[in-house]
């Protein structure tokens, strides 16, 4: 069984990486979870998962200079595939190989979360959304964030990817329920949760630890756990999983 989720939003800073790691940790209580930093141009998942000095990363795998196994790390109950941050690493990486990587990982896990790039403006940027079975759309309760989220949904559905749900993050005020209810009408998936803006989240990032490890008792962590609980992971057809990703759309290197 495997289901691949892209954690996506139209732009940066909404909390995709924070959410990927938090949902991953929460889901790891029920599933075998693998999180992948698929934002290969602006990788930062490594900083959220205590892997800033990881020797081998997804960059090396995408450059065909390392096997996937060499870039996987067991951290916080999950399998983590960090990506490097150097420009050289990015230049040498072939984003199209991400399909192979996901296919390999899919053979041996229940849930794959792809931390996705904050844009939809290139083949490489849309690839995680294209490959995923479903997308979790991270939103802030603002007009541009919701507009961008709608855009992500249209791209996803155009490429055959469903929407698993929407997740509000960095919520600062009361009344999000009404916004969520109105937003939900335009999305193909339910509201998974509303995560409050939280100093704990910023602290966790500075400490290089996932929010759920740094402050498991805080409101934001609780909201992430509830969001993960409301996510029903679907049974993929495990036999042909690898084929599924290998035969997905084939983007060429830039």
């Amino acid at each position: 069984m495997v289901e691949v989720f892209a954690v996506a939003s139209g732009k940066g800073g909404t909390g995709k990486t924070t959410s990927t790691v938090a949902l991953g940790m929460a889901l790891a209580e029920r599933y075998d979870v693998t999180v992948v930093d698929a934002d290969t141009g602006m990788a930062n998942l490594l900083f959220h998962a205590g892997l800033s000095d990881a020797e081998t990363t997804l960059h090396d795998v995408l450059a065909e200079s390392a096997a996937v196994e060499a870039a996987t790390y067991d951290r916080f109950g999950m399998t983590v595939v960090p990506c490097g941050t150097s420009l050289d690493g990015f230049r040498d990486a072939d984003p199209a190989r991400l399909r192979e990587v996901v296919a390999t990982l899919a053979a041996d896990t229940d849930v794959i979360l792809l931390d996705s790039p904050p844009a939809l403006d290139s083949r490489a940027a849309v690839l995680p959304v294209v490959m995923a079975d479903r997308a979790v759309v991270v939103l802030q309760p603002t007009i541009p964030a919701i507009s961008d989220g709608l855009k992500v949904q249209e791209y996803a559905t155009s490429y055959g990817t469903d929407v698993a749900g929407i997740l509000f993050n960095k919520v600062r005020e009361d009344g999000i329920e009404r916004v969520a209810e109105k937003t939900e009408r335009y999305f193909d998936g339910p509201t998974l949760g509303a995560v409050p803006e939280s100093e704990r989240a910023r602290e966790a990032r500075r400490a290089g630890r996932p929010l759920l490890a740094h402050a498991p008792g805080c409101d934001a962590a609780a909201a992430y756990r509830r969001a993960a609980d409301s996510l029903t992971v679907r049974d993929g057809a495990s036999g042909d999983v690898a084929d599924r990703f290998r035969s997905a759309v084939i983007p060429e290197p830039p």
Partner: protein, 181 residues
């Protein structure tokens, strides 16, 4: 809403309403900004949004296409961009009659927070707001989501945004050689 003609300070096309809001705050402009959508694909494109400022801090908002004021006017002027924006200076006394119309008022941080999606800019705008205006999120409607809700109630606009994204996704899929086999 009627305003005397101001002195044009700047006129240009921006992709994001954040830029003029930040600049007006930075230069403590007293006057108004006119936002005009460049994209005729979307509804309300013929109308113009007006936001007034006192010392760089937003006071009222109005949209000429929908004739709505206050937070809903922010929703009306919101488009996925780009905008043509003109900033005009006007004496505070000339703005007073309009600023006294309660129904047109927007909380100081709301344009930055909800229209531009920039909480940090919203916070600095609130800090710059005079003492008698609500500055704390949650106080006196400052933190409310009404502009976002008004945006979400505009089904035609949202349908247009989705349709535009759909077309773009398809067109790019063709350009990028993606196909959903």
């Amino acid at each position: 809403m009627r305003l005397p003609q101001g002195r044009l300070r700047k006129s240009r096309v921006v992709t994001d309403p954040r830029e003029p809001l930040a600049e007006v705050l930075d230069r403590t402009v007293t006057g108004y900004a006119v936002f005009e959508a460049q994209d005729s694909l979307l509804l309300d494109a013929d109308g113009r949004g007006v936001v007034t400022f006192e010392d760089g801090v937003p006071v009222v908002a109005y949209h000429t296409g929908t004739d709505r004021g206050g937070p809903p006017a922010l929703a009306d002027l919101a488009v996925p961009g780009p905008y043509h924006v003109s900033v005009f200076e006007l004496d505070a006394a000339d703005l007073d009659p309009v600023h006294e119309v309660e129904a047109l008022r927007v909380p100081p941080g709301m344009p930055a927070e909800r229209l531009a999606g920039d909480p940090a800019l919203a916070d600095s705008t609130r800090r710059a707001a005079p003492g008698e205006r609500p500055t704390v999120p949650g106080a006196d409607g400052e933190g409310d989501h009404s502009a976002v809700e008004a945006f979400l109630e505009d089904e035609d606009k949202i349908a247009a945004i989705r349709e535009q994204a759909r077309q773009e996704a398809r067109q790019r899929a063709a350009e990028w050689g993606l196909n959903d086999t």
